[in-house]
Symmetry: C2
Subunit: 590 residues, 2 copies
C-alpha cells in the first residue's frame, strides 16, 4: 500500500534536481512569504527562552557540564531546520534522552570528566549513524515494535527516575549512584542532612514555575495581554527563576558564604569542532544506549511531529525525519554537544507561537549562539537547585496515571505491558527495562492469539448467514458441527485448534460432518497446515467428513500451491458456509 | 473451549477414588485382557534389544559412562509405564537430549568424571521439576511458542552436530571440543592421523546397520518370515553389530594389540540409589539446559505419542504426559541415570510390534535390568567406534532436507525461521541457537502482521457483497473509499493502518466518505485504538466522513466500553458494508 513516505511534501516531480528531495528546506524557502516571518521570529524567540535553562538543566541531568546542553542547541537545530519535514518540531536536549545518556555513559566514566564528555559525543555519533541508517534503509517501521503502552509506561518510569535524581540538588547532600528503590530509602534515611538553603531556593523555584504554568494564564487574559505576549511571559518562567536564583546567590554571595552549589565558570564563546572517538570496543559498549536513544528519541519526535502536522494538514515523512534527526545528532557529535531529539513541550510551544518553517529552529539556534557568546558570565552564580527545580517541573507532566487507568480499562494485556515496562524500568537498569517491556508486549500479543475466540455457528432463520449459537437464535443439525475460529492459524494456536476440534468431536459421537469456517483466518502458517493435515487424517479415521468453508482467496491460493486442497478433496472445500451446508444436505439447494 | 486435557482416557467419574486419575495404569490394568500380553511382550523385547546398544551409545554421546544410559532405561520406563497416557511411547535416553546434556554440562565439568555424572543427575532432577511444574500448572500450551519449522530446524542441526561429534571415535584420533565449523576444519586438517582400525570397524558397522535397515526387509519377506519375526531381526541390527564388534576386538585382542578404544569395565548389578546435588548456584547454572531439555524433550515426546495414539483413536493428555515424563526424569535422577524422554524411532517400533499398554515399557525395563545384572561383562571389548556408528546411523534419519524445501515453498517466513534456527544452532551454542530460532519465529510473525493485506472493495453486481476491486469486476463511487484490512489491528500495524488511510485520502482529494471494513479484525489493542481516534480527528479536519462497517460483536463491545463508539458517532458505525453504502447514499435502500 501507499505509505506517507511516498507522498513527501516536496515530491521529486516538483523539484527539478535530485537534491531538493533530501533538503526539504528548499520547499519552504522557495515558497516562503513575508507573512511567515513574524510567526517564525516569535516562535524562535520563545523556544530559545525555554531552551537556555532547559538545555543547561538537561545537560546537568545527563552528567555533563551545562554549556554542553547549549552547544547541543545550535548546530543540531540548524541541521534539523534544513532537513526536517516538520514545520514545528523543536529539536534539542530532552529529559528522557538525557536520562538514557546518564545511565548509559555513567557506567563507563565519571560524570563531569573529560572522558565522560568524550563518550557523550561518541554516543551522539552512534545515534546519528543508527538513525541515518534506519532512514536510508527505510526502517522507520521498526519503531512499530514498541507499542504505545510500552512507550508511555517507559516515559512515566523515566520521568520518576529523573525527578528523584534531581532531588539531591534540592536536598543539598551528596547521594551515591543508586537504583530507584534503594535511592528512595537512602534519601529517607539521610533526610535530616537536608541543607535548608538549596531546599528553600529549589522549592521556591518549583512554586514559581507552577504559578507561571497554572496561576498566571487567567490574570494575563484578564489584563487583556495579547496571546503571543502572554505565551511569551508564561514560557519565560524557567528563564525568570534562573535569573532570580542567580541574582539572589550573587547578591548575598551564597556560594561563598553558605557553600551553595552554583553552576560556576561556563566558558564563553561558540563550541569548537570536536572529534568523537572512533574505537570499536567503545562503540560496542555504547551501542545498547545508542539503540535505546535512537528508538525512543525518534518515537517521541515523530509522535509530536505527526500530531502537530495533522492539525495543519501537513505531512511528515517518517524516513526523512530519521535522516534529519540523524544529521542533528551528527552536528551535536562534532560541535561539543550530546544526543538530541524533538522535544514535546518545546515543539508544542513552537507550534503555538506560530512557527511556519524550519526558519524558527534556525532563529532559536542563532539566539542560543548569541547566549553562549555573550551571556555565559550571567550563569556563574546560577544555583544547581534552581536547574533541578526546572527539570522536576518539566518531567512532572510526563507522569500520567490516567493514561494507565484508561489503557487498563480497555484491555488488560495492554495494561499489563504498560505496568511491566514501568516496573522493569524502575527495578532494572533503564535500557534493560525498556527491552523487557517490548518483549513482554510481543509475548502478550502472541499469547492472546494463541487462544483465539471460537464460535460454534448455526443458520440464522432462513437466511444464508451463520452466527454464533450463543449470541443468536439459530438452527443447527445434530450430525454437523460448524465452527468459526476468529484468528489466523499459526504455530502459537495450532495446538489449540487441534484440541478444540478433537474435543468437540469426542463430545459428540453422533457428528458426521465438521465444518471449519475461515472468514477470520488471514493466514495459515506451516505449523497450522501440518495440524490441518493431521486433523484431516484423524477425522477420516473416526469417520467424520472434514469441510473447509469461506476461506479467503489469498489463503486458498497458498494451500493450493502445496497441493493441500487436492489432497483434502475439492468437494469438501466450499466458498461459503451456506454452500457447505447445501453440500452436506442440511439445507435445500433452492 | 474444551481441550484434550478435559477428556482424560480415565475420567474421574469412571474411577471411584481420586488417585486413579493420576495413575492411568489403573485404567489399562483394570481392562487388561490375556490377548494384550503377546503384543506387550514382543514390543517390550524388541525395544529392549534396541535400547541396550542405543542407551550405551547415547550415554557416551552425553559424555557419560555407558552404564548410565542403561540405568536411565530401567526405573524411568517403569514410572512412565504407570503414569503415561500413551500406550506406545518408548521412554529412555535419546540422541538430542544427550547432545543437550553434553553441551550444557560439558561447560561445567570434565566429561566422564564423577562431578560430571553428578551434574547429569542434578540436571535430570531439574528437568523433572520443570516438567512436573508445567504439568501441575497445566502449562503444556507453552510449547506452542516453538513452531514446527523451528523444531525441525533445530533437530536437523542437532543431528548434524551429533554425527560430527561421533566421527572422532571412528577416525580414532583425539579431537578438541570445538564448535561445528572449526571442528570440520580440524578434522579436515588432521585426516591423515586417521587410525585404520576404528575406521574399518566403524564403517563396517555403519554398512551393516544400513543393510539391516534397507537391504534386509525384502529378502526376509521373500523367505516368508512372519512380520513380527522380521521386525525383530531388522531391529536387532545394533545389537548384532555390537556383538560382532565385541567378538572381533576380543578374539584378536585389538584393545591390547592395536590400542583400539573399547568400552572397558562396565560395573555389573542394578544402579544404587543416587542423590542429585541440592545447590542453588549449581541449579542456576543448569537451568537453561534444563529448560531446553524439558521443552524439546516434551515436544518430541508429545508429537510422536499423539500421532501414534490418533492411529488407534486413543488420546494422550498433554498435561498428564508432562507429569509422567517428569516422574520418569525424577526416577532417572535418583537411580544413577540422566535426562530421558520419549524417543521417536523406538516408540514407532513399540507401536509396530503391538504394544497395548504401559506393560510393554515395564517389560523393557525388566530386560534392561537383567542385562545390567548379568551381561555387562560382554561389553568390555565393545569398540567405541561401533557405538559411534550406531549413533550416526540413528541420527542420520533426522536430517531431512525435504522438510525444509516443503516449508520454504509453502511460506518464506517459516522457511526463514527453519533456516535461522538451523544456522544459529550450528554457529552458536546449542541452547542459544534454539532460543534465537524461537525469537526469530515470533518476530517474523509480528513482522508479517505488521504489513497486513489490504483490499479496496466495491459492490459485486447488484448483490450485498463487496469484494477486492483487483480480483472482481465491482462497482465503485468516486466520493467513497471502502477498504477491508485483513488483520487484527494492534501496535505493530497501527502505523501501517494510519499511513494507508492518510495515503489513500491524500491521493483522492475528491473523496468524502471513508469506510473501514472490519470483517477480518479479531481484535483492536490500545495502540490501534489511539490510531483510530487520531484518524477520526484527522479525517474530520480534512472534511472526510469516517465510517466503520461489519466489525465483530466482541470487538465492538470493547470499543463501546471505553466510549469510543459514542465519540465516533453511532450513525457512522454500520452492521454491514452494504448498510454503510446505503447510509452514504451510494445504493438505494431497497
Amino acid at each position: 500500500m501507499t505509505s506517507t513516505s511516498a507522498k513527501h511534501p516536496l515530491s521529486p516531480e516538483a523539484a527539478g534536481r535530485w537534491w531538493p528531495r533530501f533538503v526539504p528546506a528548499v520547499a519552504w524557502m522557495r515558497s516562503y512569504r513575508r507573512a511567515d516571518l513574524p510567526g517564525d521570529l516569535l516562535a524562535g524567540l520563545i523556544v530559545a527562552i525555554m531552551l537556555v535553562p532547559q538545555g543547561m538543566a538537561y545537560a546537568l541531568l545527563a552528567g555533563l557540564p551545562p554549556q554542553v546542553g547549549l552547544y547541543a542547541s545550535i548546530v543540531p537545530l540548524i541541521l534539523y531546520g534544513l532537513l526536517g519535514t516538520s514545520r514545528s518540531l523543536a529539536v534539542g536536549p530532552v529529559a528522557i534522552v538525557s536520562l538514557l545518556v546518564a545511565s548509559g555513559v555513567g557506567t563507563l566514566a565519571e560524570p563531569g570528566t573529560g572522558g565522560y564528555i568524550q563518550l557523550a559525543l561518541t554516543l551522539a555519533l552512534l545515534v546519528a549513524l543508527l538513525q541515518g541508517l534506519m532512514g536510508v534503509l527505510r526502517l522507520g517501521f521498526l519503531v512499530n515494535f514498541m507499542s504505545h503502552p510500552v512507550l508511555s509506561g517507559f516515559t512515566a518510569a523515566a520521568a520518576l527516575l529523573i525527578g528523584i535524581s534531581q532531588l539531591k540538588h534540592i536536598l543539598g547532600f551528596p547521594v551515591p549512584n543508586l537504583s530507584f528503590f534503594p535511592l528512595l530509602q537512602y534519601l529517607g534515611q539521610h533526610l535530616r542532612q537536608t541543607d535548608w538553603l538549596p531546599l528553600l531556593l529549589g522549592v521556591g523555584a518549583i512554586l514559581t514555575l507552577i504559578y507561571f504554568r497554572v496561576g498566571l494564564t487567567n490574570p494575563l487574559k484578564r489584563w487583556g495581554i495579547p496571546h503571543t505576549m502572554a505565551l511569551t511571559v508564561s514560557k519565560a518562567a524557567p528563564l525568570v527563576v534562573l535569573l532570580l536564583g542567580s541574582l539572589l546567590s550573587w547578591g548575598w554571595g551564597l556560594d561563598a558564604a553558605a557553600g551553595l552549589k552554583v553552576v560556576g565558570q561556563v566558558p564563553a564563546g561558540l563550541p569548537h569542532l570536536t572529534w568523537p572517538t572512533f574505537d570499536l570496543s567503545i562503540w560496542k559498549n555504547l551501542l545498547p544506549t545508542a539503540l535505546a536513544i535512537g528508538f525512543v528519541g525518534y518515537m517521541e519526535s515523530i509522535a509530536v511531529a505527526k500530531s502537530l502536522a495533522s492539525k495543519r494538514r501537513q505531512k511528515v515523512d517518517a524516513n526523512q525525519e530519521l535522516l534529519a534527526l540523524g544529521a542533528a545528532n551528527l552536528g551535536a557529535a562534532f560541535t561539543g554537544g550530546y544526543p538530541v531529539t524533538g522535544g514535546f513541550s518545546r515543539s508544542v510551544v513552537n507550534y503555538d507561537a506560530g512557527a511556519n518553517s524550519g526558519l524558527a529552529s534556525i532563529i532559536t539556534a542563532a539566539l542560543i549562539a548569541l547566549t553562549v557568546t555573550f551571556l555565559t558570565p550571567l550563569f556563574y552564580y546560577l544555583p544547581q537547585a534552581v536547574l533541578a527545580a526546572i527539570v522536576i517541573v518539566a518531567v512532572a507532566g510526563l507522569i500520567d496515571g490516567q493514561a494507565f487507568k484508561t489503557i487498563w480499562r480497555y484491555n488488560k494485556a495492554d495494561g499489563a505491558s504498560y505496568f511491566i515496562t514501568f516496573a522493569a524500568v524502575l527495578l532494572l537498569e533503564v535500557e534493560m527495562g525498556l527491552l523487557v517491556g517490548i518483549a513482554a508486549a510481543l509475548l502478550l500479543y502472541i499469547y492472546r492469539t494463541s487462544q483465539p475466540h471460537v464460535a460454534i455457528v448455526g443458520r440464522l432463520g432462513e437466511s444464508e448467514t451463520y452466527r454464533n449459537i450463543l449470541r443468536h437464535p439459530v438452527q443447527c443439525w445434530p450430525n454437523v458441527i460448524a465452527i468459526r475460529i476468529d484468528e489466523s492459524l499459526y504455530f502459537a494456536n495450532s495446538k489449540f485448534l487441534e484440541d478444540t476440534v478433537t474435543g468437540l468431536i469426542a463430545d459428540r459421537p453422533e457428528v458426521e460432518h465438521f465444518v471449519l469456517i475461515g472468514t477470520a483466518v488471514n493466514f495459515i502458517d506451516a505449523s497450522a497446515l501440518e495440524t490441518l493435515e493431521g486433523l484431516h487424517r484423524q477425522l477420516k479415521e473416526v469417520g467424520v467428513v472434514f469441510h473447509l468453508a469461506a476461506f479467503k482467496g489469498p489463503v486458498m491460493d497458498r494451500l493450493q500451491a502445496v497441493g493441500f486442497t487436492d489432497q483434502f478433496g475439492l468437494d469438501h472445500i466450499h466458498l461459503t458456509t451456506h454452500e457447505a451446508m447445501k453440500a452436506i444436505g442440511c439445507v435445500g439447494g433452492e
